[in-house]
Assembly symmetry: C2
Homo-oligomer: 367 residues x 2
């Protein structure tokens, strides 16, 4: 029996609630397929701060190191809001994890079922068939990690702060490859987003991406767009994109805009892949819902578990090569929400909402 | 008779068409108010490149220097698309103008009349009363102008590119003042957008803005939001904002997202104010529509002149202190589009569209 070893970091508020359901669904899918789940649960985020004095405790990092993937819940919330921005659970957990495991490739499906267009803020006539795009975001370069980062006092008593955005050819090429592979499995179109009319890093980005696609993926359709225009086009007509591909900070902004345009955050999953291979010969990765900890509904058993479940499916696909099993879970989620019409409160729209556990039960029944 | 001296830079494609109408409206408003318009027209953008070899010809810069404000059309288009990104008309005209006149404060109304909600990509039930917010963008600092900006070849034949984001206290304070003054004339709420969980510049931004408001504008309601969240909230519920206030690059992205959410770009005006005062004791400023040159409809007489006309109204308000006259023009535009229901093609929605000149005629009749 093949073993899938992964770390489970549920996090805060609804994090543990939806994680419980995701693990049930994964278990229900894995067993008949002859796969054994072997996971270790560890504190992260606010739970890390409260129980170990650190958003990413060393013991948690150890658990992650001995695993082939991380299934991550969500972290943060009002309890830790008085901490300075840089010490807040989300930031203080995710950035070191990205760094520790070189999680350079963030993959976020922008998926909205046609039956769920009510959930999108966009007019239904703009997205009659729902939305189906993917955002690929570079995750370990750019202005997030670039050095120097300084704040200095000037002679006149003023302060000056400085951040550095840096990219080098190889960093751009490896994420271009992820965008290309993603596009190949879809519509074959990549729109690379930059600000090459102003930034040196964007000029290099555009040149490198253009050369890389010409050499390695000439069959793909590559286009370029400025980031300000991309922010417009996403809100105007998201389906004009197939694969949206961009650097770290632009991707932070655009993938969140995309998530909200795709309706409920409760449905949005993501994968962050590392550079090396795990013991299965697939990339180590961190898998997490795009949404937050939803403190307002925590403990009520009403949170939407789909994003966490779909993140689990992405883990099966990318870190364990279990494409069929991943597709099976995705199909079960889709059938539950669409054909069966089961909806948690965030996507109920007048229907009687079901709870977190009932939703997972139905998904398991649909496997 | 008081003279209003300004430079007129129509630019390319529909630029000159809508500029002609804006000048007619300004003239029709000014004359009865005892004001004389004294303007000089000069080439910019593609027209600058074609006629003088430069997107911002020296002669044009001279015309601007001898004026109290610049009324700008729009620039760029397919004709110059083969130029490298940094030489393209928009970038090569606007950045040097911002620098030459220290145009540090970009003011963009995010205004959608309740009668025009069809034009927005957002579901009408999300914006039943239209949209009425303002975006204040810092325009001469941050990563656009920060030094160093370099591309270097590394030892292994790779390239590394670098951009620098810099802000100092005084730059943040002066734009905070613009945000505060804007909020005071409106709902009294400012949401300052940054990425203080990752960027040093944002930490300084947040600290400085907080201290500045506490000291100088304690009566205003100040909140803070991360830029990724702001990109979501704008698309989800734009009217939760009153004044949205941010640094240069975030403002580039968010103000464009806001523009598209407010429906037709053909209605969106903007002001970019300088640091010093002009001969009227008001800030020198550049006034331009948020939209582009619309090459597809150029020469057909169907472009929407409203954005250019409303930019002219902003010029009267900010650079010439003619608040009443500005309000008069704004009211005439609103009446024409709403009560009278006259619509150019971009905002027609099934109505019979009117042309550029007919629209301006109606606005003049409504003055
Ligand atoms: C927590 C924060 C640093 C992080 C980011 O901006 O990358 C988050 O917003 C995300 O998008 O994953
Ligand atoms: C032309 C370009 C440099 C400019 C900018 O990004 O500032 C434009 O997009 C704008 O928003 O005015």
């Amino acid at each position: 029996m093949s073993k899938l070893r992964f770390a489970v970091l549920p996090g805060d508020y609804i994090g543990p609630e939806v994680m419980t359901e995701a693990l049930r669904v994964l278990q229900a899918a894995a067993t008949p397929a002859g796969l054994e789940l072997e996971y270790q649960i560890a504190d992260v985020g606010g739970a890390g701060i409260d129980n170990h004095g650190k958003a990413l405790p060393d013991s948690t990092l150890e658990v992650c190191r001995s695993a082939d993937a991380i299934l991550f819940g969500s972290v943060g919330g009002p309890k830790w809001e008085t901490l300075p921005p840089k010490d807040q659970p989300e930031r203080a957990a995710l950035l070191p994890l990205r760094k520790a495991f070189s999680l350079f490739a963030n993959i976020r499906p922008g998926l909205l079922y046609s039956e769920l267009t009510d959930a999108s803020p966009l007019k239904t006539e703009r997205i009659p068939d729902g939305i189906d795009i993917v955002c690929i975001r570079e995750l370990t370069g750019g202005i997030y990690f670039g050095q120097p980062k300084t704040t200095t006092e000037l002679e006149n008593g003023e302060f000056q702060a400085l951040d550095t955005m840096v990219y080098k050819t190889s960093e751009i090429e490896r994420i271009a490859e992820v965008a290309a592979v993603t596009a190949k499995a879809r519509g074959g179109r990549v729109c690379s987003v930059d600000k090459a009319n102003v930034l040196e890093t964007s000029v290099l980005w555009r040149k490198t991406v253009t050369a890389y696609f010409a050499k390695h993926h000439p069959e793909l359709e590559l286009s370029h767009m400025y980031v300000d225009n991309a922010a417009m086009q996403l809100a105007r007509d998201p389906n004009q994109f197939d694969v949206l591909f961009t650097e770290n900070m632009f991707g932070d902004i655009l993938s969140d805009e995309m998530a909200v345009i795709c309706g409920s955050l409760g449905m949005m999953s993501s994968a962050s892949l590392g550079t090396g291979n795990n013991s299965h010969g697939h990339p180590f990765g961190l898998y997490e819902p795009a949404g937050g900890t939803a403190p307002d509904i925590a403990g009520k058993g009403v949170a939407n578990p789909c994003a966490q479940i779909l993140s689990g499916a992405m883990m099966l696909r990318y870190s364990f090569g279990q494409n069929e099993l991943a597709a099976k879970i995705e199909a079960a989620v889709k059938k539950t929400v669409t054909a069966d019409g089961l909806r948690t409160g965030d996507i109920a729209f007048g229907r009687n909402p079901v709870g977190t556990t009932a939703m997972a039960d139905a998904i398991i029944a649909n496997l």
